[in-house]
């Protein structure tokens, strides 16, 4: 009998939750809500939602509460979805929650960030039954093996909350938290059109995703969901290119675990250079077109 239930929005979250559960070392089941649950991630049972329409948190928690009662540990992703749903589930189950897990120390002890990633806290949960959310950037590559038993699950689509509108990002680019390359821009990009042409253009050229600072998002240059930082997305790509970004603590908290960081900024004293592997003191309006020109097509 599995003791851990991993609840994922999609296949990407399933992958990182499986990596977490494998490391945690106890039998686990995997529930995937918006796509077919993968059966090669080592889960005892791969449970897929019957309809891939994911309801608002109140209906989702109501639908899954009974199922969750049967497991000691409920694991969700530390995505906006996982935070919205997971913490409500913890409340509904009357269980404590350890969020944003970066490292497993033992079955009840974990490392998680605080203070915008400036502190790593080792925390122990003193209840044997708890909820956790897992940073996808810290658990990315599960072992692929075996084949899970398959099950499907009906989920109530609506309780009291109605979803009356959805605006999703335009397709085409990889998801910010999954991309191998992220090109991010700050306020010097001036306007949405310039941001798209330069940051979007270089991202496309490198097969990557576009990101932005909070300042760029606040001034309407970039869409909300592109924000990288403490209160936005946490990313850790192979290559992070920061253009016209000074490097606030807030922003750095969201990208400092990237493997290679490149900073392009006209101010040689910008704090971003203190964490960049390569710093180019140059006007981004010159540097980015030149990079687009000289980089190999992905």
């Amino acid at each position: 009998m599995a003791t851990v239930l991993a609840i994922a929005l999609d296949v990407a979250e399933s992958t990182s939750l499986a990596a977490f559960a494998q490391k945690y070392g106890k039998p686990f089941d995997l529930l995937c809500l918006s796509e077919e649950a993968p059966t090669d991630l080592g889960a005892s049972t791969a449970i897929s939602a019957e309809s891939f329409e994911v309801p608002p948190a109140d209906a989702l928690v109501e639908s899954l509460r009974q199922l969750c009662e049967g497991y000691d540990v409920i694991a969700t992703s530390a995505s906006m979805f996982g935070k919205d749903f997971g913490a409500r589930m913890a409340g509904a189950l009357n269980r404590p929650m350890v969020g944003d897990v970066l490292e497993i120390v033992s079955e009840d002890t974990f490392v998680r960030p605080m203070y915008a990633g400036n502190v790593l806290a080792t925390v122990r949960v003193t209840s044997p039954r708890f909820v956790t959310s897992v940073r996808g950037t810290a658990f990315s590559t599960p072992e692929r093996s075996g084949s899970s038993a398959k099950k499907s699950l009906a989920i109530q689509t609506e309780l009291r909350t109605k979803r009356i509108g959805v605006s999703a990002k335009e397709g085409g680019r990889p998801d910010l938290t999954q991309a191998k390359v992220v090109v991010s821009g700050g306020r010097p990009l001036k306007d949405a059109e310039t941001f798209e042409r330069l940051i979007g253009g270089l991202a496309d050229r490198l097969g990557g995703a576009a990101g932005a600072t909070r300042a760029a998002v606040d001034s309407g240059i970039a869409a909300n969901e592109l924000q990288v930082g403490q209160t936005g997305k946490i990313v850790a790509p192979e290559l992070y290119i920061a253009a016209g970004i000074s490097g606030s603590t807030q922003h750095i908290a969201g990208m400092k675990d990237s493997k290679v960081i490149v900073a392009i900024n006209t101010d040689p004293d910008a704090p971003i250079f203190e964490i960049a592997d390569y710093g180019l003191v140059m006007d981004l309006f010159k540097a980015i077109p030149e990079l687009m020109d000289k980089a190999k097509t992905s």
């Binding site: 909350t161 109605k162 390569y278």
Partner: protein, 249 residues
């Protein structure tokens, strides 16, 4: 309508965080404290609703004596009444949510607006837990709020963009950055707010207890990334990325 806004006293978000000698907690020497920025957005939203439609705004904080400073500021922004649940006990998010549930019931609040996360522990849990404990609908990460007497229509941020939810009141809304820009409150406003009521109560007055099932064993600070080097041109950058990092760029 009665709106309850829970607020937390946190270190200045721009301060440099250091650990104390035995790495059990952060070093608070000389640290300035503020209202958690997301909670300030929540106060601002509640006060704007009050200014539009005449609601009552009650702020509550759970913590040591010093929290009074942040409650006074919330009153200066425009809240009508403050409740200080004075305690030095430790809580986890669920423990806080349980105390807040008692406050919601004691005050017969119709709506709770609170920050999506506190910038000290960065948990992002208490609002959702409170919603579950009260069995109220929730709209987290709100960027736009429209209310009628019986419904809340909330645009919220999601992993892939935004969605709009409509739910009956009572409900819980947690605030994201883009919901509003809190007003500036000058010193005279803060002094004037001294005449507004601030109730000090204890956990026992609420029939509540301190609960903490997630304990911090130790803290460390991540080794900072060492700075690399400056390159002089795009060509040098590409060469370094290709030769030193093996990047296919």
């Amino acid at each position: 309508m009665k709106i309850l806004v829970p607020i937390k006293r946190v270190p200045d978000p721009y301060a440099r965080i250091r650990l104390n000698a035995d790495s059990s907690a952060i070093d608070t020497t000389g640290l300035k404290f503020e209202i958690n920025p997301f909670d300030e957005i929540a106060i601002e939203e509640a006060v704007r609703i009050k200014e539009r439609s005449g609601s009552e705004v009650v702020v509550v904080s759970i913590g040591a004596a010093e929290c009074e400073e942040q409650l006074r500021k919330a009153l200066a922004i425009g809240a009508d009444k403050a409740i200080h649940v004075e305690t030095v006990e430790k809580f986890d998010s669920l423990g806080i949510a349980k105390v807040l549930k008692s406050v919601v019931q004691r005050e017969s609040a119709d709506l709770v607006i609170m920050g999506k996360q506190a910038i000290d522990d960065d948990a992002n849990q208490a609002g959702q837990m409170l919603a579950a404990l009260l069995d109220w609908p929730q709209a987290t990460f709100a960027s736009k709020v429209e209310l009628t007497d019986s419904t809340a229509t909330v645009t919220r941020e999601t992993d892939t963009g935004q969605e709009t939810l409509q739910m009956p009141i009572p409900c819980i809304i947690t605030t994201d950055l883009r919901l509003n820009e809190p007003r500036y409150v000058a010193l005279p406003g803060i002094i004037k707010a001294r005449t507004k009521p601030l109730d000090k109560i204890e956990l026992s007055d609420l029939g509540a207890t301190a609960e903490c099932n997630v304990e911090v064993l130790s803290m460390s600070q991540p080794a900072g990334r060492s700075s690399g080097r400056k390159v002089a041109s795009v060509d040098e950058l590409l060469e370094a990325l290709r030769n030193e990092k093996g990047a296919a760029i």
